[in-house]
Amino acid sequence: MTADMSVAIGSMKLRGPVLAASGTFGYGTEVPLLERRALGAMVSKGIFLRPREGTAPPRIAETPSGMLNAIGLQGPGADALVRDYAPQWAEWDFPVLVNINGESASEYAEVTSRLDGVPGVAGFEINISCPNVEQGGMFFGNDPRAAAAVTEAVRKRTKLPVWVKLTPMVSDIGVIARAVESAGADALCAINTFVGMSIDLNAYRPRLSFRTGGLSGPAIRPLAVHLAHQAARSVRIPVIGIGGIARAEDALEFLVAGCTAVQVGTATFINPKAIAEVHDGIASFLEARAFKSLADLPRYLPRD
């Protein structure tokens, strides 16, 4: 018996609950086809309206069970994305969402308009949580009004699914979660990276040229499970759990904690087959316990 692994995120039906996280799977074209077979969906690298150079190197530093990154949303801009990548995505057997960014609510809206209706673009993940840009990013993500304003601005420009990616750098994620739910988000993605710093003891300054970076990887998993759980308790829309998932058991923690799906990020760097392995591992877990479908997995989700 093969368990039914499909999930619905609002109106979007996915063949499986394991998605590729933004910024860790490029535009999907870098990765051999084989590694994509189990993907529920892919979220592409974060994009602004115009091309962006990103931050100066060093951009990454390793920490215990984690890594810091400050890529600074390097990217080719919306036009190049439409030209170079969307046509390829249109051919694939899983949906691709674009992680969109802006320095103002109106820039988010503009990116949305530019991409809305382009074949290959199946939806949007609003990034109000990038710690590695001087303007925008995380600063929208820890103010419920700003978060709602960005969500509304994007919502007005598209009928495609709109997901909002939350930052963990808040004192109460439930407040932000409810604000963006009210503003029309179809789903929440929890969470983006935590701000961290690592010091170079030879240079007596931060290792990263941007000084701080976003912490990802297994180190943050218990924090991410908690935050995704809190978000899931606070809203009725689906929550997609993200943070430190490397194995099926990790993903199952998020699913039991109330998430509808998960995204895998850093683990892909270490194991290009991570997403397929996580997917297959969840299926085996369900089968071993004779659950017919992922929907039968018991959840721990007391409502607030």
Partner: protein
């Protein structure tokens, strides 16, 4: 991604070792200047990138020193232990264009891609001059391959006193590898040289954008995809960190 058993280890200079592993698909496909990204159970979170030093039959080799936690663990691996080996990655050196002579200039661990470079240069019909520098005689790599060989040491204990860059002759094709600071010096002298740079790497496969190499024309390339080999004049050497904690010195 291969599960590659370690097949041997030998010392080639003070603190410098060659580790061999069985990796048939990589051995047959690899070109000089390409690298593998290695992980192992109980190792650090991220893989560690290494140039392929030698490829023969079903085996490849890498050369390294213990410069930190990861390389320290690697040197403690024993025959039969397994490395997870991703590769070959990146763009290697180009030996086309009918050039007649290649000069290979390496500082310290920069020797890593040079055995394959010598092989590929010869296959392209070139005469190879091997220039290898280190701080002192004991740190010169004992293995070499060239029609002419030039040694250089900072302290003059063997070969020409001074750097490998200073000791090298000019040629149609110059290939250089070593600490980024040495490569910047090579770029001054040979703007057309092909140099293999070092950066931190998150993935090695082009998806993380962690390995940014600043370009003279502005913006960044990925060392793991567009690189690690660059035309020397294309790199913005002032903006490329030369202080990586693991940077090897010539």
């Amino acid at each position: 991604m291969l599960d590659a058993p370690v097949t041997g280890k030998r010392q080639v200079a003070r603190g410098m070792f060659v580790i061999g592993m069985r990796a048939p698909e990589i051995a047959s496909a690899v070109r000089a200047g390409q690298f593998v990204n290695l992980g192992w159970s109980g190792g650090p979170l991220l893989r560690r990138p290494f140039s392929v030093y030698r490829a023969e039959g079903e085996h490849i080799e890498v050369v390294l020193k213990a410069v930190g936690g990861g390389t320290g663990q690697m040197l403690a691996l024993e025959v039969g232990d397994r490395l997870s080996c991703l590769g070959p990655l990146g763009r290697g050196f180009e030996f086309g264009g009918g050039a007649r002579e290649a000069v290979l200039v390496s500082g310290g661990l920069g020797v890593a891609p040079m055995l394959l470079a010598a092989r590929d240069a010869r296959a392209a019909g070139m005469k190879v001059t091997w220039v290898h520098g280190a701080r002192t005689a004991a740190e010169l790599c004992a293995e070499k391959d060239g029609d002419a060989v030039i040694w250089a040491t900072d302290d003059g204990s063997q070969g020409t006193p001074g750097t490998a860059v200073a000791a090298a002759p000019d040629a149609d094709v110059v290939i250089a590898c070593g600490p980024n600071r040495m490569l910047a010096a090579a770029a001054e002298r040979w703007p057309e040289a092909q140099v293999a740079v070092e950066t931190y790497m998150g993935c090695g496969t082009g998806v993380c954008l962690g390995c940014a190499v600043p370009l003279k024309r502005g913006g960044y390339d990925r060392a793991c995809k567009e690189g690690p080999v660059y035309r020397a004049a294309d790199v913005d050497w002032g903006a490329l960190p030369s202080h990586l904690p693991y940077a090897v010195v010539a």
